[in-house]
Symmetry: C2
Subunit: 424 residues, 2 copies
């Protein structure tokens, strides 16, 4: 009970007031349903998104946490202690499945915070989600196999499955996330389903329980494997998080993927897969042939960081920070961009979508933004097939409130300029 209370506190659902007790946080709404309507139409190419972040972040960089708030001194202290006391074992060849104490810490973390049901023997430590996708594609897919993909969806997954020769089946994402009925209409013999149920990439909504059950049911009927990419589930600013799809399954249908690269820092390069027991052996064997194992000293440092409670504390602090940044973005957008874009009411993640009120040439918006020193990405970059709305992804986690306001002002300027130039 204490663990559950601590976890709920850590995640911001409960608040402890000194000398008074524990209270349910004031900002928990009953309904998390997002309100965007997305329809699929003709096909446009999904371009890859460059992640090379050599420059300091500007509005509205996506996929980057607030690195200047990362407790580097603490990490360095733990790292230094681990390096100075490193045993021969930590320097020698490691377990391709991952450093055992880290696998145990991960299994405990995902059980408590995500409702994942697993043993440490099902956990494989990897360099991140991308490596998991590449390895799973190579194990599961044969050329020509169909894969259900969320549309819009995650280009890293498109690439991984395309490299394995798969046929990507775009499945529409409506206001309630991935629609399994649309998937069944388009291809009822998929071998794999890729989904981001905690926080749809890029639209942000959580997949409701009935859709989750429907998705698992479709998967079992097709004998498809479901890859649950638990993307950004750590960052939810109000509402109850739904436990993982993996925890709803009887055992063999779902692979659960998580990563520390955005919750801590991108260049860490540690993520993990929680596999059905029957997949572990072939997955670890391929991993060994592909790149052996994850650097062990890094795994040991991360393990200490988690087991000493720093990971949970860091997430809690980042949640508060990102929530206030999202709030700054929403308010500035309401003031300066009302009637031009709308930001869905999804209090989660490191970024949000901004949906254009009028049909707009997204590539022109991107170009004009770039001239004003903005980093923007059009939603069209995440589409396998054209969707009924256009808009941008706006990252808010990596930049402070002043930069957020500058960015919104610049974006307003972009739309004013484009509007003036519009011939009709």
């Amino acid at each position: 009970v204490v663990t559950v209370f601590e976890q709920l506190k850590a995640e911001g659902y409960l608040e402890g007031r000194r000398g008074a007790g524990t209270f349910v946080s004031e900002r928990i709404p009953d309904d998390l349903q997002p309100r965007i309507e997305i329809k699929t139409t003709a096909s446009i190419a999904a371009r890859s998104v460059t992640p090379f972040a050599a420059r300091p972040p500007r509005a509205f960089r996506v996929n980057e946490p607030a690195l200047d708030h990362f407790p580097m001194d603490l990490w360095a202290r733990i790292g230094s202690r681990r390096l100075h006391r490193a045993s021969r074992l930590l320097l020698a060849s490691g377990d391709p499945q991952g450093y055992r104490p880290l696998r145990e810490a991960i299994a405990a973390h995902v059980a408590t915070s995500r409702g994942v049901r697993c043993e440490a023997d099902q956990v494989v430590v990897l360099s991140g989600t991308q490596q998991a996708l590449d390895l799973l594609a190579r194990i599961v897919l044969k050329p020509g196999d169909a894969v259900w993909m969320e549309n819009p969806g995650y280009p890293g997954a498109f690439e991984a499955f395309r490299k394995a020769g798969a046929r990507l089946v775009p499945v529409s994402v409506d206001g309630r996330g991935l629609n399994p009925a649309d998937g069944a209409r388009r291809d009822s013999r998929a071998r794999l389903i890729y989904t981001t149920p905690a926080h749809q990439f890029p639209l942000g909504m959580a997949l409701p329980l009935d859709r989750r059950l429907e998705l698992l049911d479709s998967a079992r009927r097709m004998k498809a494997l479901v890859i649950e990419d638990d993307y950004d589930s750590e960052f939810r600013y109000r509402g109850r998080p739904l436990p993982a799809l993996q925890g709803l399954d009887s055992g063999d249908t779902v692979v659960f993927l998580g990563s520390f690269n955005k919750a801590l820092f991108p260049s860490l390069r540690i993520g993990y897969a929680v596999l059905p027991p029957n997949l572990v052996e072939s997955f670890v064997e391929l991993r060994f042939h592909v790149d052996r194992y994850t650097p062990q000293l890094d795994q040991a440092i991360l393990c200490d960081f988690i087991t000493e409670g720093h990971f949970t504390r860091h997430l809690r602090r980042m949640r508060a920070l990102y929530e206030s940044r999202l709030c700054a973005l929403t308010e500035a957008a309401k003031r300066r961009l009302d009637g031009v874009i709308s930001i869905p009411d999804i209090a989660a993640g490191l970024q949000t979508t901004a949906i254009f009120s009028k049909r707009t040439d997204t590539a022109r918006v991107e170009r004009a933004s770039s001239i004003l020193g903005l980093e923007t990405l059009g939603l069209h970059r995440f589409c396998l097939e054209r969707i009924g709305t256009s808009g941008l992804m706006l990252g808010f986690a990596a930049i402070d409130e002043a930069e957020i306001r500058r960015g919104v002002n610049a974006l307003a300027q972009v739309f004013e300029t484009l509007d003036r130039r519009r011939p009709t």
Copy 2:
């Protein structure tokens, strides 16, 4: 000139005597030709070699350096300094090609010590040789493509090319290494040639200059790419090292692979490829889709370790240590195993072969050795096709001289027992 002198000193070819000057080391022979004759016959399967080294090393563990002699305090001090001063840039998403200062340090190192001709723009930082092989196989090979493989050879390469659907062509290794004429007889349309010219894996000889030129010539004629795995070239205890095959080539034929995982410690997981300029883009693109990039803090620590001169000093110390361990092994074997096994006169590497004088069931030797607490690997594990000799690989780098002598005594006991049981 000073650099070259320093390098030759670092590699043990010159000796500095305080107050007296620099002298050529006393133990440089004119001829490095090894004396083993290997002939290929019927085919036997190459089994994979498990690298999981959780237990302390025993005689005769292969592929493990002397971890108790690694300057961990120094590494920890450098690591701690890097972590405490880590910039935002080091925490953010990195360059899939590798941390630029490390690529420059590697380019300088391979130019000076290995005669490799390259710019930092041709260097890609990876987790090790295995990742390079997997990526190259995926870029270069189509199912059914022929690959020349040294026989006996490196099972990690067999696996990487098999996973890409390649047809492995065993090319015989005689007393002078890989024989290109045998390759041409077996398949004159190979797409790829894999070779370990500095120190043939597992037999240990260096490929002489005429064979190197012949090999490059064959590759150009077939329009094949050559993968030069510069395996264990750092550890040569006498004789001149031949410069890399890559440096003999005009530009587009050779990929040069190196690794820090055995020169420093296995769980570091940093190696590199030096690519022909025309391969860099597609290689880095695939690498990005497969696992993004190598952890940046680790790259920065390694970079400091190299540029501050510690890497060269560590190699020099390890060379002296391993040479004395090899010497202990050779002498003990002469005393206790004369007429039973012979150890070729190759003063290099972390391990040596021990060739059986009489035809012996290698699997029985492995089993009996294991009962006596030895770790031995039969040469048959490295064969694509049966070869004319049988023997073991004996690692000597990871264990001290007492353990080497215990191991030789135990091995003598193994052969005495097997001899007594022999029915004929």
